[in-house]
Amino acid sequence: MSVDLTTKYGHITISNEVISTVAGGAAVECYGIVGMASKNQLRDGLAEMLRRENFSRGVVVRQEDEQLHIDMYIIVSYGTKISEVAHNVQSQVKYTLNKTVGLSVSSVNIFIQGVRVINE
């Protein structure tokens, strides 16, 4: 699956891989996120943290009709306001995709897969 844009010089095809990497990159720059989690916890072990090259496993890009939906599986830091962190991720992912890829996202769904507790 991919997203197609048509310009006066020709077509641009952006693969879902690209969208998920951009979305993942925007998300980890967001405050309060300590990692991306695999969407498939049972198969990949408990909320295994994903490295950059594996972002796509924690980001699912879906196209329904003409609309783009993104599901993100993230791990947040203990002691943050989780709903707020999730909301920040949503707005930043939407903004970044719009700015860098020119895509308008219909929904960014956040799944909190884990909380990382750090010794204080």
Binding site: E29, C30, Y31, V34, K81, E84, N88, Y95
Partner: protein
């Protein structure tokens, strides 16, 4: 007055004043907000978070610094709003953790607590972005440790903390490119500095002026323009056309008549436009507004004093020169060649334009443009030589009449179908004369085979086929070659009829309004399976009536 031990009540008062000072400056901080998302809410979010923290602090009755800071951290966490709010809550969560056991605080404790806040805050982020509130917190924390080593008194210590934060904030544009580009400091960092400034003012026993940083007006204006530039793609979208900036120097007599209240003034001005910034101190008001009637805004300002340093810019003019709006450019020179064609559907229009057509008249089967429509299009093409491609045999006559009537040289390339029109356009040579082009394009046009899929509007008998209403018809070169209930089956039959594997190389599918992607994909798959040597090109034409237009060459 010397203060070496900070008590719980003093800390609480410092926090309350920090919150108050942040609140008075939140609009200014909003205006600076260009990162991470330029939505202008950093100040509002920080203020809401901080207010929630301050509320909790108010409820603490014990004179115990540890308890005060704990309550503060709890309130911040509950009220955290936005990225900056969450960071703020983390900074003070670490801060309070370090002070948990302390009834009173020394400067060393305070410095350690600031450092603790930084540590906690950095732990909660995978990839810290420098040049933000995090940087300001970290650099200030580091500086405070050195400060605390030689300074046991709180007043000079906190003064040092504020100076360090201000210095660090100044450096943020060097660390974060977007800030440098816009010419502002980080809004979250500004917020943190504002809180520290509130701490200091409380220790000094001072009332804070509402705006500590008049000189950041320029930054705020830059940030407003930056945000605005992202909003408008089209000059027509600008609702308020004049960027108006002015200062009002207060005059006693006028103030006696109309007392100045910043909130009220801002309120009134906000009805006259947007991107509003109002900053004032005892002597001056600075105003920046985008408005349609700059005079009104100036009049409002003049109630309080005399106007100084006015600047009014027409943003539409500026925007036009930036985007190069065609509509407002001077009469352009006539082009050598213009091409007028007829097609239906947005995709089709774009397709023809991409091939070099200057004017695409919406029309075709069931909606033939008149001679006048074509004549108008010839004028619109604005060229010395105009080629007309009617793409439909019913329009050829009108096109020829229009060509005769035209004041410029005009010739018709009698294309009967869309594929013919497309092929003909590919043969256009801007160097050749009109007649040569007409001949060359007409001959190219004959080399392409055209087919269309459409539906029957009534039962009929034609070309030896009996067709039922609602069935699909495959038309090859104007002759109905197949008619079936199933659209795809009809399309496949038509393609079979059209393609000669020995001679043909390219099949182009132009999908219409009534064709969906699955159908296009199915056809593509069918072609790839049965005619593997053929190249398949797919375009979206969005034409009505014809689900598919095929061309084979």
């Amino acid at each position: 007055m010397t203060l070496r031990k900070l008590e719980g009540t003093t800390l609480a008062e410092m926090i309350l004043q920090g919150a108050h000072h942040l609140k008075s400056n939140s609009q200014m901080i909003d205006a600076l907000n260009v990162f991470p998302v330029p939505d202008g809410d950093t100040g509002t979010n920080m203020n809401l978070s901080m207010s929630s923290g301050a509320e909790e602090v108010k409820n603490v009755s014990a004179n115990h610094a540890g308890l005060v800071s704990q309550a503060f951290a709890k309130g911040l966490l509950m009220g955290a709003r936005g990225n900056s709010g969450v960071i703020l809550s983390q900074l003070f969560r670490g801060f309070s953790k370090a002070l948990e056991e302390k009834e009173t605080i020394t400067t060393k404790d305070f410095a350690e607590a600031l450092q603790g806040g930084v540590k906690t805050a950095y732990k909660a982020v995978m990839k810290p972005v420098e040049g933000t509130i995090l940087t300001v917190a970290r650099e200030t924390g580091e500086a405070s440790v050195t400060l605390a080593e030689k300074e046991e008194e709180f007043l000079p210590f906190i003064q040092g903390v504020v100076d360090a934060a201000r210095e660090s904030l100044k450096g943020t544009p060097e660390l974060l490119p977007v800030l440098k580009e816009v010419g502002v400091v980080d809004s979250g960092g500004q917020g943190l500095l504002t809180i520290y400034e509130g701490f200091l003012a409380n220790l000094k026993g001072e009332e804070m002026p509402e705006h500590s940083t008049m000189n950041s007006m320029g930054e705020m204006v830059n940030a407003e323009h930056h945000k605005l530039a992202q909003d408008f793609m089209d000059t027509d979208d600008i609702k308020y056309g004049y960027c108006t900036e002015f200062m009002v120097k207060f005059e006693e007599e006028k103030l006696a008549e109309t007392p100045y209240k910043e909130e009220a003034f801002r309120e009134v001005l906000s009805e006259h436009g947007d991107s509003l910034l109002v900053v004032s101190d005892e002597e001056l008001i600075k105003v920046h507004i985008h408005t349609e009637h700059p005079g009104n805004a100036l009049n409002l300002g003049q109630q309080y004093g005399s106007l100084v340093n006015m600047k009014i810019e027409n943003m539409r003019e500026q925007h036009t020169s930036i985007v190069g709006d065609k509509k407002q450019t001077k009469p352009r020179e006539k082009a050598g060649y213009g091409i007028v064609t007829v097609a239906m559907g947005d995709g089709m229009k774009k397709l023809f334009e991409s091939l070099g057509a200057n004017v695409v008249i919406q029309g075709g089967q069931t909606m033939n443009p008149s001679t006048k429509d074509i004549s108008d299009a010839i004028v619109e093409a604005h060229a010395n030589n105009v080629l007309i491609l009617p793409n439909n045999k019913n329009i050829t006559m009108a096109a020829e009449q229009a060509a005769e009537l035209a004041e410029v040289n005009a010739a018709v390339v009698p294309s009967k179908t869309i594929p013919q029109g497309i092929s003909a356009l590919l043969g256009f040579n801007p160097e050749a004369d009109l007649i040569a082009n007409q001949e060359e394009m007409s001959s190219l046009m004959a080399q392409v085979k055209s087919g269309q899929i459409t539906y029957a509007v009534r039962d009929t008998q034609i070309d030896g086929l009996s067709i039922e209403k609602g069935h699909f018809m495959g038309i090859s070169e104007g002759k109905i070659s197949s008619a079936q209930k199933d659209k795809l089956a009809t399309a496949k039959d038509l393609l079979k009829e059209m393609i000669d594997e020995e001679e043909d190389e390219i099949v182009t599918i132009i999908s219409g309004e009534e064709a969906n992607e699955q159908e296009v994909e199915a056809l593509e798959a069918y072609l790839e399976e049965h005619y593997e040597d053929m190249e398949v090109e797919i375009h979206r034409g969005d034409q009505p009536i014809y689900s598919f237009v095929f061309s084979v060459e």
